[in-house]
C-alpha cells in the first residue's frame, strides 16, 4: 500500500463565491498529516463543508495555497440514489476509478457492502435503495480504494447503529494503516476522545480546540487484558492505540481503548513478534485518565 508521502497543507487559505462575495473562509492554516484523525466542528453554515471540499481538492481557494495531493476519497453530505446502476455495479465502477482492477473492485464492492450489512442489496438498483442503504453505498465507495485521505461530511447521518459502529472501526483501520481521516459530524460523541486534533470553524476562521477534542472519557471503551513475555514492553502500535495501559502483574497488562479501535489494538497485539496472548476483552468503563500514570498524554 502506498501511503501519503507529504502532508496536505493549507496556507492562508480563503474562499469566497463570486468576485465580491463575502468570505466563507479566510486565513485558514491547517496541516493534515498521514495517520491522523481530524475533527472539524462549527455551527450550521459556518463553512465546514466548504473546508472539507477544499481538503478533498473539489474546490480551489480564492486566495492562499494548498499543497500535497494524497489519493483522496470523499463522502458527501447527501448521496443521491438517482444513478442507473445496481449497488455493486456502481461500487465496482468507483473501485476502478479509485485505481483498483475490475476484479479487485468487484470483490471489494461486495466485501464493503457486507461489512455495512448491505450485502443483500448488491444486486438492487440504486433507485430502489432506502436512504440509509444508499448512504452505505456512499460510504463504501470511499473505503474501497484504501484512500490516503478520507474526507467524511456527516457520513454517519442516516446509517443504522451497526453501520455507524462499523464506519468508526473503518476510520480506526484507515488511520492505523497510515491514512489521514478528516470528518464533520453533528454528534459530539462521534469518535469521542479519538481525534488527534479538533478544529472549530467560526467567523470564517479556524480555531484549534485545546481541550483534547471533546473530552477523552466520553466515548465507549473496551478493556483488553493481554499477557506477554515477562518484562517485554507492549508493542508500540498497541501503546499508540490504547488510551491507557497498566501493568497489573509482571507480563500482564490492562489496556483501555476506544471501542472503535479495539480491533486495531487486538491486531497489533496478535501480530507482534513474538505475539501477545489476549486473555480477555470486555466492554469497560473509562478510566479517569489523570489517575493513571501511564496514560497517553
Amino acid at each position: 500500500m502506498t501511503l501519503m508521502h507529504r502532508d496536505l497543507r493549507l496556507t492562508a487559505v480563503g474562499r469566497r463565491y463570486g468576485i465580491r462575495g463575502p468570505w466563507v473562509l479566510r486565513g485558514v492554516d491547517l496541516v493534515i498529516a498521514p495517520g491522523t484523525l481530524t475533527r472539524i466542528e462549527g455551527a450550521n453554515g459556518t463553512g465546514k463543508s466548504t473546508l472539507l471540499r477544499l481538503l478533498a481538492r473539489l474546490d480551489v481557494p480564492s486566495e492562499g495555497r494548498i499543497t500535497g495531493r494524497p489519493r483522496t476519497a470523499y463522502v458527501p453530505e447527501r448521496f443521491p440514489s438517482a444513478l442507473p446502476f445496481t449497488a455493486a455495479g456502481y461500487l465496482t465502477h468507483l473501485g476502478t476509478v479509485h485505481g483498483l482492477g475490475r476484479d479487485a473492485a468487484a470483490r471489494a464492492a461486495l466485501t464493503w457492502l457486507e461489512r455495512f450489512g448491505a450485502g443483500g442489496y448488491a444486486g438492487t438498483p440504486m433507485a430502489r435503495l432506502s436512504k440509509g442503504s444508499s448512504q452505505k453505498v456512499a460510504v463504501a465507495q470511499a473505503l474501497l480504494g484504501d484512500p490516503e485521505l478520507l474526507v467524511l461530511d456527516e457520513a454517519w447521518t442516516g446509517l443504522d447503529a451497526a453501520a455507524r459502529a462499523e464506519l468508526e472501526r473503518a476510520v480506526a483501520e484507515r488511520t492505523a494503516a497510515g491514512g489521514a481521516v478528516v470528518f464533520v459530524d453533528h454528534d459530539p460523541r462521534r469518535l469521542a476522545g479519538v481525534p488527534d486534533a479538533t478544529y472549530t470553524v467560526t467567523g470564517g476562521g479556524l480555531l484549534r480546540r485545546t481541550d483534547s477534542g471533546g473530552g477523552t472519557a466520553d466515548g465507549p471503551v473496551t478493556v483488553v487484558l493481554a499477557e506477554g513475555p515477562a518484562g517485554a514492553p507492549l508493542p508500540p502500535e498497541a501503546v499508540r492505540t490504547a488510551r491507557s495501559t497498566r501493568e497489573t502483574a509482571p507480563g500482564r497488562h490492562r489496556l483501555t481503548v476506544p471501542a472503535s479501535h479495539s480491533d486495531v489494538l487486538l491486531r497489533a497485539l496478535l501480530t507482534a513478534r513474538p505475539p501477545w496472548h489476549v486473555a480477555r476483552v470486555e466492554p469497560g468503563t473509562a478510566d479517569a485518565p489523570h489517575s493513571d500514570p501511564e496514560s497517553r498524554p
Partner: protein, 223 residues
C-alpha cells in the same frame, strides 16, 4: 482515464437519455435523406444535423450525474479529469452515431452528382463524408462544452446558448463545420468529392481548446 470513461459511458447508456437525440436524428435523416438521392448532398445533411445532436449529447452527459456522485469521482481523480471524461464520452457517442449514419447514408444513396451525370464511387463519397461528420461531431461537442455547466449553469441560459451556438457553428462562414458541409453540397453539384481534412483539423483544434477551457473551469467552480 479508462475507468472514468467506462463509468461515464455506462452511465450514459443505462440512463437511456441518449434516446431522444438519437431518435430525433434518425427522424430528421428519414425525412431529409431518401434512398436514391445524390450521395454527397445527403452526406452534407447527415453531417450538419449531427452538430446540434452532439451538443445535446454533451448536455446529457454533463447533467446526467448528480453533483454528489460527481464529487465522489472528482475527489478520486480531480474535478478537471472528471469533467473531461464527461465531455469525451459525449464526443465518443457523437462520433459513433456520425460514423454509423454516414455509412448507412452512403450505402442507400445514389452514387452520382445532383444531375446524375457524374459517377461518385461510394468509397470516395465515404472518404468525403466521414471527415465532415467527424468535424461536425467535434464542433458540436465543443459548442456543448462551452454552453453547459460549468460555463453556463442555469438551464434557462444553457439551452438557448447551446441552440444558438450550434446554429452559428453551422452557418458562420469561418466555421470548420460550415466549410465541411458546404464542401459536400458544392461537391454534389460538380460531382467532385472533396476531402475536408482542413476543416477536420480546425474542428479538432477548436474542440481541444474548448474541452481544456471547460475542464479548467470545472476545477475552479464549485457546483
Amino acid at each position: 482515464m479508462t475507468a472514468l470513461l467506462r463509468y461515464q459511458t455506462d452511465l450514459l447508456l443505462r440512463s437511456q437519455r441518449w434516446l431522444p437525440p438519437v431518435i430525433l436524428y434518425a427522424a430528421f435523416l428519414g425525412v431529409c435523406v431518401q434512398s436514391g438521392q445524390p450521395v454527397l448532398d445527403s452526406l452534407g445533411y447527415t453531417a450538419a444535423a449531427l452538430l446540434p445532436v452532439s451538443a445535446w449529447l454533451v448536455r446529457i452527459c454533463v447533467t446526467g450525474e448528480p453533483p454528489a456522485a460527481r464529487a465522489c469521482v472528482a475527489a478520486a481523480r480531480g474535478p478537471a479529469r472528471a469533467h473531461l471524461a464527461c465531455l469525451l464520452t459525449a464526443l465518443l457517442a457523437a462520433v459513433l452515431l456520425g460514423v454509423a449514419a454516414t455509412v448507412v447514408v452512403t450505402l442507400i444513396s445514389a452514387p452520382a452528382d445532383n444531375g446524375h451525370r457524374v459517377h461518385v464511387p461510394p468509397p470516395r463519397a465515404l472518404a468525403a463524408g466521414l471527415p465532415a461528420a467527424l468535424a461536425c461531431a467535434l464542433l458540436g461537442t465543443a459548442v456543448g462544452a462551452l454552453t453547459n455547466a460549468p460555463v453556463l449553469r442555469s438551464t434557462g441560459r444553457a439551452v438557448p446558448a447551446t441552440l444558438l451556438g450550434a446554429l452559428l457553428a453551422l452557418v458562420w462562414a469561418g466555421s470548420p463545420a460550415q466549410a465541411a458541409v458546404s464542401g459536400l453540397v458544392t461537391g454534389s453539384q460538380t460531382g467532385r468529392a472533396p476531402l475536408p481534412l482542413l476543416p477536420l483539423a480546425g474542428a479538432a483544434l477548436l474542440t481541444a481548446a474548448a474541452f481544456a477551457a471547460a475542464a479548467w473551469l470545472g476545477a475552479r467552480r464549485s457546483p
